[in-house]
């Protein structure tokens, strides 16, 4: 049985230092591959070409840390906690190249990539300024064509994306790379489209467990490149059935990311000054706080006093 488990630092070293194409699987404040993103920042990746369905804290951190030269996404936020201040400012000041899609249109590009199709036809984006901007920038990812099957019918042709790397965070996988994602799987098409898929997981489970519940496996080992075990690897974003988001740090981040100076202080204090993800956890919360984020297995999120403490 091939063992695909590697250490986080080793995995991130496989991403080229300059100009790598990476798709990230976070969604607002849940299942963000924070540990992987932070390590990319520590290893000083440059000119990343980032793809995401929805921009999240992971994407915003990388943009703020000047690791990114290109971003394709469908917008994003930190939900009620705030905005993606670093990404927004980069768009306002035109400091990185950004392609803005709708959620479905960029997901369809990943879907086409995952199916080995050259492009996918759709109606979405017609009439929007996302489409206007993509056309004005002469993006090679999008063409408005006449339907080959009916007259006077405009179709948006979206080019497949097969990113060199994708990184998602999931609840569990076995050593072979069979991945179980619990809850909604907005990142599934993105994960399956990648040439090399890295999956960070809360825990590595036995292949016996996988064989007992094969219907729970969303991504087969065949599609997975490497597996990295990083407990609390999405912290301070949440992982369904594992832990809640950590409000205190998200609030602090949502303030810091509105301003380059404050962001850099946040970056230095918590990410650059920590040697690995465990160190990042120690620097950002206490053990009690971390344990308090644990969910009730019936609800999938913390209930009672625990849930309230995190408001």
């Amino acid at each position: 049985m091939s063992n695909k488990v590697i250490e986080l630092t080793e995995a991130v070293r496989e991403i080229p230092q300059d100009g790598a194409e990476v798709a990230l699987g976070g969604f607002a404040i849940i299942r963000n591959p924070i540990a992987f993103a932070n390590e990319m920042i520590r290893q000083k990746k440059k000119n990343l070409k980032l793809y995401a369905v929805l921009g999240s804290m992971d994407t915003d951190l990388l943009v703020g840390a000047n690791c990114v030269s290109f971003l394709a996404y469908s917008g994003g936020s930190l939900d009620r906690f705030g905005r993606l201040g670093r990404i927004n400012e980069s768009i306002e000041r035109n400091t990185i190249e950004v392609e803005e899609y709708s959620g479905l249109s960029i997901s369809l590009r990943f879907l086409a990539g995952s199916l080995g199709m050259p492009f996918v036809p759709t109606k979405t984006l017609l009439g929007t300024d996302m489409l206007n901007n993509l056309q004005n920038k002469k993006s090679d990812a999008i063409k408005v064509i006449d339907s080959p099957f009916s007259d006077n019918d405009k179709i948006v042709a979206l080019k497949a994306i097969n990113p060199d790397f994708a990184v998602i965070h999931a609840q569990m996988a076995d050593e072979k790379g069979n991945v179980i994602i619990e809850g909604p799987r907005w990142d599934l098409e993105l994960a399956l489209s990648a040439k090399k898929l890295f999956v960070t997981v809360e825990k590595i489970v036995s292949n016996k467990y996988i064989k007992k519940y094969p219907e729970k496996v969303s991504i087969p080992s065949i599609s997975t490149y490497k597996v990295i075990e990083v407990p609390y690897g999405a912290f301070p974003s949440s992982v369904y059935n594992c832990y809640d988001y950590y409000s205190k740090l998200l609030k602090e981040y949502a303030k810091a990311n509105m301003d380059a100076f404050q962001f850099n202080k946040f970056l230095q204090k918590y990410i650059l000054n920590s040697k690995d993800h465990s160190d990042f956890l120690l620097k950002t919360c206490t053990l009690d706080e971390l344990l308090n984020l644990k969910v009730d297995p019936h609800y999938g999120y913390p209930i009672g006093l625990r849930g309230k403490q995190n408001e």
């Binding site: 921009g55 809850g183 999120y301």
Partner: protein, 252 residues
């Protein structure tokens, strides 16, 4: 008549626009409250869809957004982004899409991306699934604050297409037809005229004057000869909202 807040009136007005057995894409906040209210009153067989892949949750705790598992509690089905916005929405199975935004214009086009400023623009959330929801939902319901800078003749950016440039322009550029666009604000319910698809008053909330609506609207709009008054919430609806649906009064 019972006592109620403006947000409760908005939730009830939106709930009255929903019908049983409809499939509804919602986000957090008042749309979610309105939809759960409809399920608990006249639309028990209504289905809820979140864009990132959650179908028919029955949450008992409020969360910070659809990315909060509190809102997924007791779901029937988890799927992917394409599973939700492709297999359900793009296929044409969604009756109502709820949207919000920074601005809406005289033809119901929505902007959730950016606002122009003196020296450029400020970028906000962007589309997420909003643009797709407006493309494929048979009806688009918008819930927003009624302010001059928010209801305007022309939006700074079209994130989600309503009736595009009015008349038949939406279908002319290749988009699927849309049966209705409704905007539920804290002052009134706005709809669109039959042929021109131009913004008009459907009903004004009780106690609100036409002048107040005019003062707070940045777009020119049509006024029926005798504007209707928005139906008031019933005692039962208010009790459901306050005791069962949003007991912590986070949104109402």
């Amino acid at each position: 008549m019972s006592k109620y807040t403006t947000n409760e009136l908005m939730a009830v007005a939106a709930s009255h626009l929903l019908q049983d057995k409809q499939n509804v894409v919602v986000g957090i906040g008042l749309p979610q409250i309105a939809t759960i209210l409809a399920q608990n009153t006249h639309a028990p067989n209504l289905s809820i869809i979140y864009e990132h892949g959650v179908v028919n949750p029955q949450p008992i705790d409020m969360g910070v957004g659809i990315a909060d598992p509190r809102l997924w509690y007791q779901a029937d089905y988890f799927t992917s982004f394409v599973g939700a916005l492709g297999c359900l929405l793009q296929k044409g199975l969604v009756d109502v899409g709820f949207l919000g935004g920074l601005q809406v214009d005289q033809y119901g086009n929505l902007n959730s991306t950016l606002v122009k400023t003196d020296n450029g623009f400020k970028h906000y959330t962007g589309s997420g699934g909003a643009g797709d929801i407006a493309t494929y939902s048979k009806n688009i319901f918008v819930m927003m604050r009624h302010e001059k800078r928010k209801i305007v003749d022309t939006v700074d950016f079209i994130t989600s297409v309503g009736y595009y440039k009015g008349k038949t322009s939406r279908e002319d550029i290749g988009l699927p037809a849309c049966n209705s666009v409704k905007i539920i604000t804290n002052l009134c319910v706005l709809g669109f005229s039959k042929a021109d698809k131009k913004i008009q008053i459907d009903s004004i909330h009780p106690g609100v004057s036409l002048e107040e609506v005019k003062e707070n609207t940045g777009a020119s709009f049509l006024i029926p000869v005798k504007p209707r008054v928005t139906e008031e919430p019933s005692k039962e609806e208010i009790e459901l909202l306050e005791n069962q649906i949003d007991p912590d009064h986070q949104y109402i």
